[in-house]
Symmetry: C2
């Protein structure tokens, strides 16, 4: 554990500039080109997302909804931020063609879960995690690229979620459905649970939808999901996330579902303890919340305490001050129990700690950011190829070396790089002017 | 007050047959023809709904959303039940043409509130009471008449409600909106209140939508609204309705809103007391609940206690055992405070008490039904013309004698007549077979 402290931010502009000069060419010459060169399926459309450590294909060609939509998000957002010289827009558009041809259900609404390479659906479940990326990616696509299908399907995805998954009695959203939107069974099929993960991604999605439409109805749904997250899904004392709940938001010991996501690890033998929180997920929630408030144009002040609590808990217990990087998970107070270093938590912690440094102007958050930046740069990124390795031991030894598969792709890595660059530029500007 | 009792149902088949022989020709030769002959606007389409006691037009030609949609519902339901020899279908279709041309908002979704005779919108508010009739009338139209626009706009109306009016944090629905679905101000503009009335009509609407589509998502919304009504909006002891609530379903003293409906009386000077309930509204809720359970095909048993409580309270305090008919409102325990006789409460009490007689097989509910039937037949129906008078004094003296205006039309009177006939036939059959 490292004690938090109140030292004011003292990073030098030169240090920030140095990082920008590392990241900028990395993004444009390594990371984006890796996906642009390797991921587009020139034969059938959409994206191929299975890659070995050396960037070669694993041979697997399944197309999962999340990976197809996350590629669209990644490419659209890169294009919106001025990267790719038009290549990202072209690559995004052919992905939209593919998902609208194959993944959208014209009868019941919403998106199917898994298809084969040609687009034939092999799992027609409606999983909210995927549905939320329908809203997120199509909204980002509409903001980036002039194609009326973007807003049309962002709104259709949103309407399907409200119509079919909202719980107008207890609040929030159900998450696991069959094709016709009947709820799946409970337990490992997840039909009786509500999760922090899905509700956080709905906040992320509704933020970008509202950025696109500025409609009062979309704003209200964003406000409501923020209230659900903050009042029902976070630990009141620590601000940390609780993973799973029953219908009425009673915390439950987390289990792994049949349709796994967000974890590259095999199912545990039993449910996780209740006092168990994921540092990277919390810090992701923190910066997505800040972004939602920015997009709504409302006062951040009331939200600062929870953003600070999240960053402090991750600073104290989540950051590995010896080997660098952020651990997976542990209790609210006490050392991490899962000390592996997963790629996506590193990515989200970059953006999150940098946000905290900018908001609170404290050196401790910059220290955490810099710690993770070094670990990512030196251990996680496979510089020979461009993309990040999936999973490392605590000390940085590679544990799982694939660069892409069912759940790992460009979304966290490209987004974190772009968002980190944006924040470094902002901080540089603030420091230069003060 | 009349004490309830446990005497078994002892009505004779001959008595039932006698009532059927009164109602059947009244419906087909008087009531339906009044609306078919007088209400269709042959010049501009849609319906004219302002009539004096003698059936002549009042000269007013505004077209309110509720009245247009209620006419469509009435005509479609009459056609579905085999009345009107095709005239009802033709009259419904031209009404659908009119509301789709003028009342549907293609930009923000949902229905506008008031138009002039030509269809020019004069109040573009989005009022949930009206939106619920969008779902109800278009679903009934789709069930009755082969026109793909019925289901299309029933579903579009439903989607607009879920997207724009649902409260996914506290549950239930907001009710008063501007055109773009921003909430109206609070207080008399209603933007901060939730009402029993609107939630009951949403149950009614979602029932018919589910009857049409049989979709799991529509069924879930119906189940949720039933739970809201029963667990949050009824008095736990008496089963009676509480009129108004804050966002979190805390009961509030009822006020009249600027966009008044459901009352033909001028605004009171101050809010109603909390211990105040509307007998006719309660009994309407009882039979609509029974109908919802029937359409879902689930067990009525768990719902019987609340249906019985509602009927008992109305029997004890709501029925006027001296002059006949049902009063407007009063406390849960004690004599009615508002002893006028309004047309729509009589209509709903007919269906509701007859339902209770059939479910519980007790004579007391038949007595209440027969009491109100006599009052309606002898005092409320204007037999010279066919439609019912609006408002009577306790003793049956006519107070307001118009037959149609902004809020009074064919929906309660035709529906009650059709539903009463259905139930009389059912009871006759049951008694004949036993």
């Amino acid at each position: 554990m490292r004690q938090k402290n109140n030292k004011p931010l003292e990073v030098k502009v030169g240090k920030i500039q140095e990082m920008i000069e590392l990241l900028q060419p990395y993004l444009t010459k390594q990371l984006l080109p890796f996906w642009l060169d390797n991921s587009i399926d020139k034969e059938y459309g959409g994206y191929l997302t299975y890659f070995n450590r050396d960037g070669s294909t694993t041979g697997k060609t399944d197309k999962t909804l999340i990976m197809q939509l996350r590629m669209i998000f990644t490419l659209a957002s890169a294009h919106r931020d001025g990267y790719g010289e038009g290549r990202c827009a072209v690559a995004a558009k052919q992905g939209v063609d593919f998902v609208l041809d194959h993944f959208w259900d014209p009868d019941f609404g919403g998106w199917y879960w898994i298809a084969d390479r040609q687009g034939k659906i092999t799992d027609d479940s409606k999983i909210m995690y995927g549905q939320s990326f329908g809203v997120y990616s199509m909204s980002e696509y509409a903001l980036a690229i002039d194609d009326r299908r973007g807003q049309e399907y962002a709104e259709k995805s949103f309407d399907a979620i409200l119509r079919c998954a909202s719980d107008t009695y207890a609040g929030g959203y159900w998450e696991m459905f069959n094709r016709d939107w009947s709820l799946k069974e409970g337990g490992v099929y997840g039909g009786d649970r509500k999760t922090l993960d899905v509700h956080m991604h709905l906040m992320e999605a509704f933020t970008t939808l509202y950025e696109l439409t500025k409609l009062p109805a979309h704003r209200r749904k964003l406000e409501e999901i923020i209230d659900i997250l903050l009042n029902k899904m976070l630990d009141a004392k620590y601000g940390t996330g609780i993973a799973q709940f029953d219908r009425f938001f009673k915390p439950l010991r987390a289990i792994l579902f049949q349709n796994v996501w967000g974890s590259d690890r095999p199912p545990d033998e039993e449910a996780r303890p209740l006092d168990n929180t994921n540092y990277g997920h919390n810090i992701e929630l923190g910066w997505l919340l800040k972004h939602a408030i920015d997009v709504m144009g409302t006062d951040l002040e009331p939200y600062k305490p929870v953003i600070k609590k999240i960053a402090d808990q991750a600073y104290e217990w989540g950051v590995d001050w010896e080997y660098g990087g952020i651990y997976v998970e542990g209790p609210n107070e006490g050392p991490a129990l899962q000390t592996l270093k997963e790629f996506w938590q590193q990515a989200e912690a970059l953006t999150g700690f940098l946000d905290a440094a900018i908001i609170f102007k404290k050196q401790m958050y910059w220290d955490a950011f810099e710690n993770i930046f070094e670990f990512v740069w030196n251990k996680v990124i496979n510089h020979d190829v461009g993309e990040w390795l999936a999973l490392l031991e605590r000390d940085g030894t590679v544990k799982w070396d694939h660069l892409g598969h069912e759940w790992k792709i460009s979304y966290h890595t490209v987004r974190a790089t772009i968002q980190t660059l944006k924040r470094l530029e902002q901080l540089k500007k603030e420091l230069s002017e003060s």
